[in-house]
Amino acid sequence: MKTSYSDLQLDALRELANIGSGTAATALSSMLGRPIDVSVPAALALPLADAVDAVGAPDASVTAVILPIYGDLAAIVLLLFPPEDAAMLCGLLGVDADSEFGLSALSEIGNILGSAYVGALTTMTGLALEPRPPETVTDMLGAIVSSVLATGAEETDIALMLDSDLTVEGMECSLSFMLVPSRAGLSDVLARLGLDG
């Protein structure tokens, strides 16, 4: 099934992502006690075949925290930590990235950031959104991103990803933060913003 998005709709989704990731950055900043820079989010609406490459090299190793969201908008929040950045973040929190504490620290960062992001979306749109507990996996970027996209690809041939980068100021340490909404839920969101059809 073909689906596409107008520039106006993509602008509105980018603004949603902007407010969500701004709130998440504030949460990360208070966790680490350091200022966080937030990139201007990208609203990517791409053919399925192009979607993974737009996120990164498919064979790159990443640690991902995945938060499924249920409620008025079924979606997945996906945080991607490249290995060096994951190690540095864990270092800032005083844990060893390769230990079980490292993974659970990343998982907790994912949980707090994801919840902050989702909370901001709820406030803005009035949608009832319920995040589920996060899962943390380390694998090939392509395997993670494609499997996330597959959960929502039944109804659409366009992969929609709202992508922001958070960077710890003054350090080579960043993480990529994505909201991957389901097509059906997204129609409701756009309708609430007066941007349906």
Binding site: M1, K2, P47, L48, A49, D50, A51, V52, D53, P58, D59, S61, I66, P68, R132, E135, V137, T138, D139, M140, L141, G142, A143, I144, V145, S146, S147, L149, A150, T151, A153, E154, D157
Partner: protein, 174 residues
């Protein structure tokens, strides 16, 4: 899309066929997706489909490699157009992992459903599955070399391993 020398990357929802000896078809980072390899055993000819979901439910606009029920006949047809004899085709399946557990108790275990749907479609086409590296919880990269029929699989942090090799009879177009 062409990657390293002589390698065609088959991305999500795509399929590709090659009859150039030594050419490699690859799908990088299969998670719940299935990489379906078809090998012609009497000539240098191989195909690869990067299947994302089990059933098209009649959606005929979707990319042809997206759904198992459409991808398998489409790949078969492309192989036959390139000179394959149906009875000399063999299949290898890679992927269908469950990367996350949140779908495990529902029909969201897409990896398992993808494998099942692909096996059914391959069986309907009368093709035998000769080898498979499927299920589990890890991503995989699959490569097939045209001519040697060598299929390799790589999981993260592990060496590339040989999954299947089919010596193809040389110089005897059937």
């Amino acid at each position: 899309m062409t990657g390293a020398a002589g390698e065609t990357i088959v991305r999500m929802s795509e399929l590709s066929v090659s009859s150039t000896p030594g050419h490699v078809l690859a799908s990088i980072g299969l998670g719940s997706c299935i990489g379906l390899v078809l090998i012609e055993t009497s000539r240098p000819l191989a195909g690869l489909a990067h299947i994302m979901l089990p059933s098209s439910n009649g959606d005929s606009d979707a990319p042809v490699g997206k759904f198992a029920d459409r991808a398998v006949p489409a790949l078969l047809e492309k192989m036959v157009s390139a000179g394959a004899v149906r009875t000399r085709l063999e299949a290898v399946l890679v992927g269908g992992a469950q990367m996350f557990s949140f779908g495990s108790s529902t029909n969201l275990d897409i990896g398992r459903r993808n494998e099942q749907a692909t096996r059914e479609a391959v069986a309907r086409a009368g093709i035998e599955v000769r080898a498979a590296a499927t299920g589990g919880g890890k991503g995989r990269t699959v490569r097939v070399c045209v001519g040697t029929g060598l299929v390799t699989v790589k999981e993260p942090g592990k060496a590339e391993v040989e999954l299947f090799a089919r010596a193809v009879a040389a110089g005897r177009p059937g």
